[in-house]
Amino acid sequence: MQFLITVLLDGLIYASYLFIVSLGLTITFGVMKILNVAHGGFFAWGAYLASISIIYLGDNEYNSFLYYFAIFLSAIIVGLFFGYIIERFILRKMYNEDIHLIVLATFGLFWILEDLILHVFGVDPLMPYYPAMELGGIEVGGIFQGVYSLTLAGLAIIVAFICWYFLKKTKYGKVLQSVIFDREVSVSMGINVTKVYLITFIIGGMLGALGGAYIAPTISVSPGFAIDVVVMSFAVVVIGGMGSVPGALIGSLIVGLVRAFAVHQAPILELFIIYAIMAIVLIIKPEGLFAPPKPRKI
């Protein structure tokens, strides 16, 4: 029982965090058909900017509101700044290119973003643990658990709800869906697809940065820590179906729970099992568990 609760808690927390990150990735892919490796760069930048601002605010109990303000603000700034630059000046010129070239370009951008971090923030690891320490911990079913990590699950639910509401209930959501369905038809209907792409990319970037910014207080933020997250969210997105929002949810739940189980039960299999699931899903249902099938174009 104890073991089960540990695995469930760990898995859910990890899944929430993965969900926020891979939601950004899957939205970018769904709308723009771009597999954005630079997403890891957004993630790392969000984490760093949030860490720096939290450390700047210092360990002060009157600041607790400011911490969260800083986290969200860094995510928004990172998404806006890099999202705008990358989409406007690089990706926009490449939409007619081969899909592999676009992936490679984002790969190059990932490298650049990673090294920019070294220059802007230095090489020393940052540990902005104040928000996590302030909230303390509680006992859940006999297991001591930090409250801050639990709020991550809350954040994931809020993000999922906002995303669902936006896509299904608003006019902009419908515009987005029509662009996803067929870019050219949307253009002929008078939708400004260029603008939709820009906004989508920025929002995707913000989500990636938010994942990084929110997880920062629970980890030590050091150079190169984003490299694992990129492939992990790739796995999530592939398992759930590239471009599918519920897919990202299910995918991150699967990956989070399986990883937590492996970490506690068979640490040797930790990495292996996630990618094995990814491979198996691709073999059985290449479009992912939740993506609608595409017609084969001749």
Binding site: H100, L104, L109, W111, L118, A235, I268, L269, F272, L282
Partner: protein, 318 residues
């Protein structure tokens, strides 16, 4: 298949190029520079494998799977069988990678575009997950490889360099023979229109499968040579997805125009990396990333398109 191949211009230029590189590397240049040539030639094999795949518009984001598998095959053969002979090493690396490629090819040959890329990525990360945690194979520290021998005598650095040149020439000949055969000519046809190729009576899946195995063998050979040249194998620098990304990057940087391009590109890449690391240790990734973007935007044909513009051997069209 191999008839008259030595008379082909590509092969003659290729053999000349390898000879020059090997002679430069063994007699003239200082060791750090000639190391770049040696690693470049070895990794060029893997890039050649990727290029052959890319000509059908299949891009593997997990080719480090075969690269690392070949390297680890050499390491395992040394640990458990005591194999240090350089011929056996390269044969084991190629055979192991080829076998793995043959098995996985049955699955991968049905996939195209981004799904092909993602499934190869998944397979390579499965291997990474296994190797990074396998204690009897050294986990993330990897294993060391003892110096290679040939017929019982230690080969030394120069000897290994000659051997790498020899392997590269053989694979150039083989790759060229493959690409000019009717099977190889199917490559472009499949990229243009698969269904038409099927109607012509060829099996697209079979053609892709053969191509995939060849590509895997080349990448495995590259891994085997690299393991012997570096004297060390480890999952982070041999199997991780960023290694696959690097290989794909070199492919696009080199260009798809010619079978020699991968080797030129791989050597060039080693030099960028060494220089960038030497002069700007905190910005070398940025330099590499910037180079990648610059190539994609300003030199879509890769480095090889520069050579084509100034090619002294260019044939006049009659």
């Amino acid at each position: 298949m191999f008839k008259g191949i030595l008379k082909e211009q590509t092969i003659q230029v290729g053999i000349g190029f390898v000879f020059i590189v090997v002679l430069l590397g063994t007699f003239i240049l200082p060791e750090w520079m000639s190391n770049n040539f040696m690693y470049g030639l070895s990794r060029g094999l893997a890039v050649l494998g990727l290029m052959i795949l890319w000509r059908t518009n299949l891009v593997s984001f997990g080719h480090a799977l075969y690269y690392g598998f070949g390297a680890y095959a050499v390491a395992i053969a040394q640990k458990y069988l005591g194999v240090t002979d350089v011929f056996l090493r390269i044969l084991i690396a190629i055979a192991a990678a080829g076998l793995l490629g043959f098995v996985l090819g049955f699955i991968l040959r049905r996939y195209r575009e981004i799904f092909f890329a993602m499934l190869s990525l998944a397979f390579s990360m499965v291997l990474y997950g296994l190797l990074a945690k396998a204690e009897f194979l050294g986990s993330t520290d990897g294993m060391s490889i003892s110096p290679s021998t040939m017929f019982g005598f230690e080969l030394g650095r120069f000897g290994l360099f000659y051997f790498i040149g020899f392997v590269v020439i053989l694979s150039l000949i083989f790759a060229h023979a493959y690409l000019r055969s009717s099977l190889g000519h199917l490559t472009t046809a499949i990229m243009d229109n698969e269904i038409r190729v099927e109607y012509l009576g060829y099996s697209v899946e079979k053609a892709i499968h053969i191509k995939y195995v060849i590509s895997a063998c080349l990448a495995g050979g590259a891994g085997g040579l690299m393991a012997a040249a570096l004297g060390q194998v480890d999952p982070d620098s041999m199997v991780l997805w960023s290694v696959s990304g690097e290989l794909v990057f070199v492919t696009i940087m080199a260009g798809l125009g010619n079978i020699l391009a991968p080797f030129v590109g791989a050597i060039f890449f080693e030099f960028i990396r060494t220089y960038a690391y030497e002069f700007a240790p905190q910005a070398w990734q940025m330099i590499i990333g910037g180079t990648l973007l610059a190539i994609i935007f300003f030199l879509p044909g890769g480095l090889w398109s520069l050579f084509q513009k100034i090619n002294p051997f260019k044939k006049e069209k009659k």
